[in-house]
Amino acid sequence: MSKTLVEKIWDAHVVKSEVGFPDILYIDTHLIHEVTSPQAFDGLRKRGLPVFRPQQTVATADHNVPTLNQLQPIKEELSRYQVDMLTKNCAEFGIELYGLGHPFQGIVHVIGPELGITLPGKTMVCGDSHTSTHGAFGAIAFGIGTSQVEQVFATQCLLQQKPKTMKIEVNGALGQGVTAKDIILYIISKISAAGGTGYFIEYAGSTIEALSMEARMTICNMSIEMGARGGLIAPDQITFDYIKGREFAPAGEEWDKSLAYWKTLYSDADATFDSVLTFDAADISPMITYGTNPGMGMGIAEHIPSTASQVASEQASFQKALDYMGIEQDTELVGKAIDYVFIGSCTNSRMEDLREVAEFVKGRQKAENVTVWIVPGSKQIEQQAIAEGLDKIFEAAGFQLREPGCSACLGMNEDKIPAGKYCVSTSNRNFEGRQGPDSRTFLASPLTAAAAAITGRVTDVRTLLNEPAHA
């Protein structure tokens, strides 16, 4: 019987399927971090249970960590306590921890792929909604709540309803200045922040197939921003080449065996999806969000929609979002003065993002009124950036290269955008207060963020790409 990729992986992990009950789904890899795990460890203690398969669990500290002087004791007491708890819990339950100071430390969704832990055909979960990132390798990966973290600790399984499947095809060549981030912001703006609810999304089509692994991760990362459980892309030669030789990737005979299996991981030609959407890459321009959910995005040269053009029941929420952002309907965003630029988060903090930004800013200077933070996704990326001399380029441009963590993506550490200030951010959420109380976020690609850093205003990066940088 023909199957979609999601069905193939799902069916290979069902321990038990019974009518009237959710499936018992086996989980290959469980990633954990300091914020959503302590209550789950506590639950285990209360039940008197061990972690069932500690070798299939990997921990890092990312959400709460400082991005300056990371190896000094953390100043903020509660953050320090949470990170210390993780260290203590991992030691007690026998879990490998890549904590502060470890060469593998970083944002949980950046280090999984980078270390060869994320592999095609796996089931992976983490107490963080952007676990969908790992789907870029052709894995079923999704975010879970803390009760479920406890469930996976205790049983290495989850009770799950089989999700509906959606295919999103994007075909054709991308225009100048258009990146993976723009593709996904475009899709979300078309189908809305709830348009994928209940689905697992498979991204396909010639545009997606041409993307690098890092770009694919950016796409899958934001699946959750349309409400989807997860997103994935069938593995191909680009995937295999990326994995080969990584720290924990299979090697030797194991590699050959794995590769043979991975090559069976695609949706059969006649498999049926519950929903299919198709987009044309030529319609996508550099994107920016103007509102307070990721669905409120537009091509950067467009005008903010009018409140009257929204469905009647949504007009009040729409206007509330514009008021929060301090912007007017029917106006354009290009030229709007901004205060901060944040280049980081599990959406856009990988080597390619940093290289792209460095190449663009080389010989340019940031605008005086803007603070620019570049927060690499992992220690390895930070080291690589320094090895390639990107730190010098950033420094010359007035950009601060900091140490790895989630940082201003969610403002749990000190990296907060002050009230009322505008930030062009490469992260994934523009919710009210996400980057700090009363902060205002415009989501965009690293290139568009870099352009805003240079001009101090929301800028169509295409106008700068054609202009030589001055040394």
Binding site: S147, A154, A193, M412, E432, G433, D438
Partner: protein
Amino acid sequence: MKKFEKLTSAIVPLNIENIDTDQIIPARFLKATTREGFGENLFRDWRYNGDNTLKTDFVLNNPAFKGRILVAGKNFGCGSSREHAAWAIQDAGFDVVISSFFADIFKGNALNNGLLPIQVSDEFLAEIFSTVGKDNSAQLDVDLETQTVTNVVTGSKTDFEINPYKKSCLINGYDDIDFILNQKQLVEEFEQNR
């Protein structure tokens, strides 16, 4: 987990769509390592001004509205997977959340904690908002056994869906971990046969 059967209660109306988990409980309050106490910071930035004084125009600060049922606009609970959102709502004294649409992860988290998310039609939701708009002590009657919600003032009644397994968990007060642990042998067999 505590058991849930029936509830008749007044309503706290929050007629806003797309309420995300960062509004329900902002990230900076996620630093606790226990499940208790999050209710204090439920909707923190909507309840308090920057100087920590209460925003008197926000419904949760209005003593005229109290009850164990939170009623909110479409796409409630979108955003992050933080279960703290469900804990905060429960800790603030709610047993039921009603909306015309819930984000997936929130719904799962709520059910795993015995907080009942009920999805109703846009029309039924609009009627609740209008009823409570006229009378802030208006009540709803929630019956999990028959899977119905009744607007006590107007008499309108609607069915709601819930996974039968989850329903039995709520009614009996047991959870997924108990369920899987009972079948641990199957898990071990699965591991051996791969």
